[in-house]
């Protein structure tokens, strides 16, 4: 058996994608011009699929901070925190994030993926129980493969489904760790967090919430869903990323647990990888200041969400269940989604295409993510383009012709 024979099914599906036109999984941004524009295939293209929720990748103050840090401390740390030591700025960043959440402790990771992978797989170990939402991100699923805890899935955003699973554990010894996400990355829907917390309290379960897509977007101070529903104190662990709203890369976990720091010598994805380079640490610290100083960015983001979501809804598209910085547009199948995606790129708009197995319930989606600095004109134009393509492809019914009557 050849090494790649086991991927035969996937190879075949992927061949369909590659032989029929542009490959959505290998798109090249020839030049990125701004948070909302890039040159793709030689053409200026509107970006509506980059998770750049506040548009801070080109924020002059963040860019300056990064450049200054490179001049001062070089391009990289060339080793891990436990081997090469922490820079003063790593520690400062951790303190600032802990303060942002009003939590005692924070650990910073080199990616958000590694934060979830390491923290989740370490918190729940042999004899424990890890309960995860069915629509969890790949980093959470991968953590489940690494832990020796018993892992059980519950139905997406369904507190009663979690409760049934906690109840069935009865009085078995072992910690219960429940993993939730603030905003789910494919359909942009939020967890009913308050209800989940009530269930967790009833059964004495620890709660970890991943705020990767909700940092900045939710809560009066942008702390995420935990803040928005007033349960910051009930969330034992909050994980997040620097790669979306904060416009760089990296992950973090905050907690009030007095022994939290033991994770620094137990979490392998923290111990055995190089720490964040000075430039990233500097731009993230500045981006966090911007998030605090400019709440108007959050307001703009949600206005843009409304423009796109309501605009597409009105035209008859099937969307994710609620407004969110991610707007998932349902399409009937994989190849329709890919065809639609190509037509949009032709028309100068870039979004993500998400197809099984990366999507819940085997759905095929165009995944749009909004940016505070999109203009309403850009988004109205996008609705028009998508409506046209939708009709052309038979995804939307033809326009209702106004009855012209001579009578």
């Amino acid at each position: 058996m050849g090494l790649f024979d086991r991927h035969a099914g996937l190879l075949e599906a992927y061949r369909d994608v590659r032989t029929t036109g542009l490959d959505p999984f290998q798109i090249r941004m020839e030049r990125v011009l701004s948070p909302t524009e890039a040159i793709i295939n030689g053409k200026p293209t509107l970006l509506v699929g980059t998770n750049n929720y506040f548009g801070l990748t080109f924020d002059p103050s963040c860019m300056e901070a990064a450049i200054e840090a490179i001049r001062a401390e070089g391009t990289g740390t060339t080793g891990s925190r436990i081997a090469n030591g922490s820079y003063t700025e790593h520690v400062a960043l951790e303190q600032e994030i802990a303060q942002f959440y009003g939590k005692k402790h924070c650990m910073v990771f080199t990616t958000g993926y590694q934060a979830n992978l390491g923290v989740i797989s370490t918190l729940a170990d042999q004899g424990d129980f890890l309960l995860i939402d069915a629509d969890s991100h790949a980093s959470i699923y991968d953590a489940c493969k690494m832990t020796r805890a018993e892992v059980v899935r519950f139905k997406h955003n369904d507190p009663s489904s979690l409760e049934a699973r906690l109840r069935r554990l009865g009085d078995k010894p072992g910690n219960r760790v429940v993993v939730l996400e603030g905003i789910y990355s494919m359909l942009g829907d939020s967890a009913p967090l308050k209800e989940f917390i009530d269930v967790c309290k009833k059964y004495g379960a620890y709660v970890l919430v991943d705020e990767a897509h909700s940092l900045g977007a939710l809560g009066d101070n942008g702390r995420g869903l935990c803040e928005a529903v007033g349960v910051l104190d009930d969330c034992h662990f909050i994980v997040g990323t620097f790669s979306k709203t904060l416009g760089a890369i990296g992950g973090y976990c905050v907690s009030d647990d007095p022994d939290f720091d033991i994770l620094r010598v137990t979490v392998r994805s923290y111990m055995f990888t190089a720490s964040l380079p000075p430039s990233i640490v500097a731009s993230v610290r500045q981006a966090l200041r911007v998030v605090k100083a400019k709440p108007e960015l959050r307001k703009q983001l949600w206005e843009n969400v409304s423009t796109l979501y309501d605009g597409l809804k009105e035209q008859g598209f099937t969307l994710g269940p609620e407004h969110g910085p991610v707007v998932g547009v349902h399409l009937p199948d994989r190849m329709t989604a890919i065809g639609f995606w190509r037509a949009m790129l032709e028309a100068g708009i870039y979004v993500n295409v998400a197809v099984p197995p990366a999507t819940p319930n085997g759905v095929s989606l165009l995944r749009c993510s909004l940016c505070a600095v999109h203009t309403s004109e850009q988004l109205e134009h996008m609705v028009e383009v998508m409506t046209g393509i939708g009709r052309q492809m038979g995804v939307l019914p033809p326009p209702k012709l106004r009855a012209v009557s001579g009578r």
């Binding site: 892992v151 059980v152 139905k155 489904s161 049934a164 554990l169 197995p357 819940p360």
Partner: protein
């Protein structure tokens, strides 16, 4: 003699009840599994106890896990993901559900 007789009767009684309970449950479990797998039937080949779920049907791994979640609630058991990974046939899935039900406190 009388004691032995009583014992036998008692044992038979227990065995009968258990077999009955298991029997009814097993038929229920198999029926329920088949119901969930029907949409993924490949061609004319019927779904039986020996059907290898991931191979003989058109169901993907995520849909298998979602189906298991439905079965968990139907039979009030939780099947850990590591156990699901070891299940290949409809029979094995039914056995797992029955074993978990039997071991409930």
């Amino acid at each position: 003699m009388r004691i032995a007789h009583q014992l036998t009767v008692e044992n038979d009684g227990i065995a009968d009840t258990a077999t009955l309970a298991r029997g009814i449950l097993r038929a229920d479990v198999i029926r329920e599994i088949c119901l969930h797998l029907e949409p993924y039937q490949a061609g004319e080949k019927p779904i039986t106890g020996e059907t290898v779920i991931a191979k003989d049907l058109t169901i993907d791994s995520l849909a298998i896990m979602d189906m298991v979640m439905e079965l968990e609630d139907r039979f009030d058991v939780s099947i850990p993901m590591s156990v699901i990974a070891e299940i290949h046939t409809v029979d094995q899935l039914a056995d797992t559900i029955q074993d978990l039900r039997a071991s409930r406190g």
